[in-house]
Symmetry: C2
Subunit: 437 residues, 2 copies
């Protein structure tokens, strides 16, 4: 659990000086890493022995895997622009600072993150544990592979990371300092504000969709006042509810999975969008991407029902494990300023504390459903799509899956209060899939 | 309206250096003020001509009125502890920095604040317009005096101050910088968190109430799980909802009123509790203090009904004027990242934008009722009471008023969703007053 003295104040948490920043090339990497004793020692041998390969398939950064005689490491360096787009879309180097700050906090609070070997702030560079024996969970899901521990690990991870960075665990003072620190990560939050909550609902040059199959659907959504109103209520929550340090981009592409016989290993990566926001945003992001995968399976598998049932079961398990661990923390680690035990357990009112928890989780679940809805729609109508759907050919087949996903997305956004539970949302998915058969 | 360049970034907005801080005495004041050219010029003559009197009746600071041949000023200096309690309750000098930061922002955004002549950060000292020809609104209300423009001015003030510091008006980037700045004002927020939301619902040495008349009532409230659950949901909102720069202490004692024939002048003072919080908190604070005054009138006036009706009408007017001005700003100044016109008006969907506004105001009204409820209860059961009730003798007569106020407080906190409107809340007040007759 985060202790008071784990929370550094603003003085130590100032942004790095980037004046000496230099983006690395494959050739530069060994010399740079040789300067970091702990990294050099992990790799072994001399820089001449180190093999460097660029593996970044993300949109924003350079990522290298470096292998030496004794071991390997992963090096991630931010660029002062969006890698996918180029220098025309500048993006601050400070995202690396916030990624490191979030990664170290999540690691302490919840584990399941890659170990950090070195953070070089001024170079916007993080050297961490090499996870190249893992695969991105999204890819495994598209391939129909089943990692049974992913949902429980992620449910527990989110419960611990969110609970322990919130007013439920921290003093109001410590929490406000953390919130203020991460409030500096505005450029990344702005990407989410625009790409998730705004652009899909208007004509925008960055939008794309399966065309012409979804042209009418996209136009109907842009004209759908109820949907837009509900989406903007969710954007308001995203902008104003500083509940916990949220990962901010917790989709199935930010999860690495590995299997070795019976043993699995699950890790959460890439928290560069981290900020103080609504807890339901992370939970919803993960649910959204499981729902998207579920609909996409109809485009991949000849007999999709077994894998679809399994994926939906993972959505339910994620929530169940989240709620179970969150409830445990509520009972054993609720030492923050919110819902103080002094008013409940200390007065013998254990039932009231339990009622507060049930109501809290009910609201959080509704929030998560709403955020899941907006996260689904943006992956079909906005700039950034998901390989689950993108790899479906021909387009008509893909569009059929996407229309189903958008059907659910609207229900989640507009009817989230009535749907109320992840379990009921999974029922809606089954019902939409059933309509097609 | 606040412009982007009104919002100074964290570099200029760093806390003052307090190493040269020295608390002033009446004797020291002229020498200190002589160093501020703009103040000396306002006062006229020489420091030997300046009359100084200490007028602070607040709980926290020293306040002096200084009069010279040409004019007068008000000097407010923070102490490193709570004045009411003494050095045993330390309180950071930085509250003066936050008060000045809030006062200048409120002044630009909404007017109706005292003009600032000089801010000396390192001395935790603000020299401002002398309002000693005004009286505290609370005192005027207790005396049964009617200031007809107070409610409209305050409704407009809150609408402008809250709207223009929120994501409805500011870019997400500018708003997050402001939020981070005011997140440093944690010590003052903590007072509210404890004294308003927590202590009244448990046994605590700082609590006091009219005893023995209210002993049973206070004990019943400490055991009232529904009330405490709802109060803690409101505390959660207070801790997490960074919607706008709220004044944080906007009761009738933070309002100065003056009347000169037909002309009235209304000012809002003392925003040292300012932070980014829920808009409903300020609206609720004002409503709470009007409701408290209304119940207290039964203890003061022989025929209280006319003044009670008037006070309740002011609560309704405050909300009506707030909603009217807020609606106007929604239509004409909604240029922030929230509820962007690009999705509504720009697509010809004016009705949808209006629906968004109606829903926004409905939620805000419910929040305000809940916050009004907790603000009422703390003034009867907690540390800080209000003169409206405190001046009622004998205690049995006061306790009768207080029980009625607590009856309403519980309804507002627990049934706020069902009550829904300020108008309905005023109906509940009338109904409670009617029960007594």
């Amino acid at each position: 659990m985060l202790q008071q003295n784990d929370i550094r104040g603003p003085a130590e948490d100032t942004l790095p000086d980037y004046r000496s920043y230099r983006p690395l090339t494959v050739e530069d990497v060994p010399e740079r890493l040789a300067a970091y004793a702990e990294v050099a020692s992990t790799l072994g041998g001399t820089p001449a022995d180190w093999q460097v390969r660029e593996v970044g398939d993300g949109n924003l950064n350079f990522v290298y895997i470096v292998t030496g005689p004794s071991g390997s490491v992963c090096l991630k360096q931010a660029l002062p622009f969006v890698r996918l787009v180029g220098e025309g879309w500048p993006l601050p180097l400070s995202r690396s600072f916030f990624e490191h700050a979030a990664l170290s906090r999540e690691g302490k609070a919840a584990g399941a993150t890659p170990a950090i070997l070195r953070f070089d702030g001024g170079q916007a560079l993080i050297v961490m544990e090499d996870l190249s024996s893992h695969v991105i969970w999204r890819k495994a899901l598209v391939a129909g592979e089943r990692h049974e521990t992913a949902a429980p690990v992620l449910g527990r991870f989110m419960a611990e990371a969110l609970f322990r960075t919130s007013d439920l665990s921290l003093s109001a003072d410590a929490k406000k300092r953390e919130m203020a620190l991460f409030a500096g990560n505005t450029a990344l939050a702005k990407i989410t504000e625009d790409l998730v909550f705004t652009d899909p609902y208007r004509e925008h040059p960055l939008n794309r969709w399966t065309s012409p199959e979804l042209d009418e659907t996209a136009a109907a959504i842009r004209a759908d006042a109820e949907w837009k109103l509900a989406a903007q209520e969710l954007k308001w929550m995203f902008l104003t509810r500083a509940e916990a340090l949220v990962h901010g981009d917790l989709h199935t592409g930010s999860v690495m999975v590995a299997k070795d016989g019976e043993a699995e290993d699950i890790r959460v990566i890439d928290p560069e969008f981290a900020f103080y926001g609504p807890m339901g945003f992370d939970v919803g992001a993960l649910l959204a991407n499981l729902f998207l995968n579920c609909f996409a399976q109809s485009g991949h598998a000849a007999d999709p029902k077994p894998i679809q049932d399994w994926v939906l079961a993972q959505a339910e398990r994620t929530w169940e494990c989240f709620a179970a661990r969150f409830s445990e923390l509520w009972r054993t680690e609720r030492r923050g300023d919110a819902f103080p035990g002094a008013l409940f357990e200390d007065q013998g009112q254990h039932e009231a504390a339990q009622t507060a928890l049930s109501r809290y989780l009910a609201r959080l679940q509704v929030d998560a459903l709403g955020f899941a809805g907006v996260k689904m729609a943006r992956r079909i109508l906005g700039l950034a799509h998901v390989s689950d759907l993108e790899t479906i050919e021909p387009p008509a087949r893909r569009a059929a899956c996407e229309k189903q996903a958008l059907n659910l997305a609207r229900q989640l956004v507009v009817e989230r209060e009535a749907i109320a539970t992840v379990s009921a949302a999974c029922g809606r998915v089954q019902s939409i899939l059933g309509d097609r058969q």
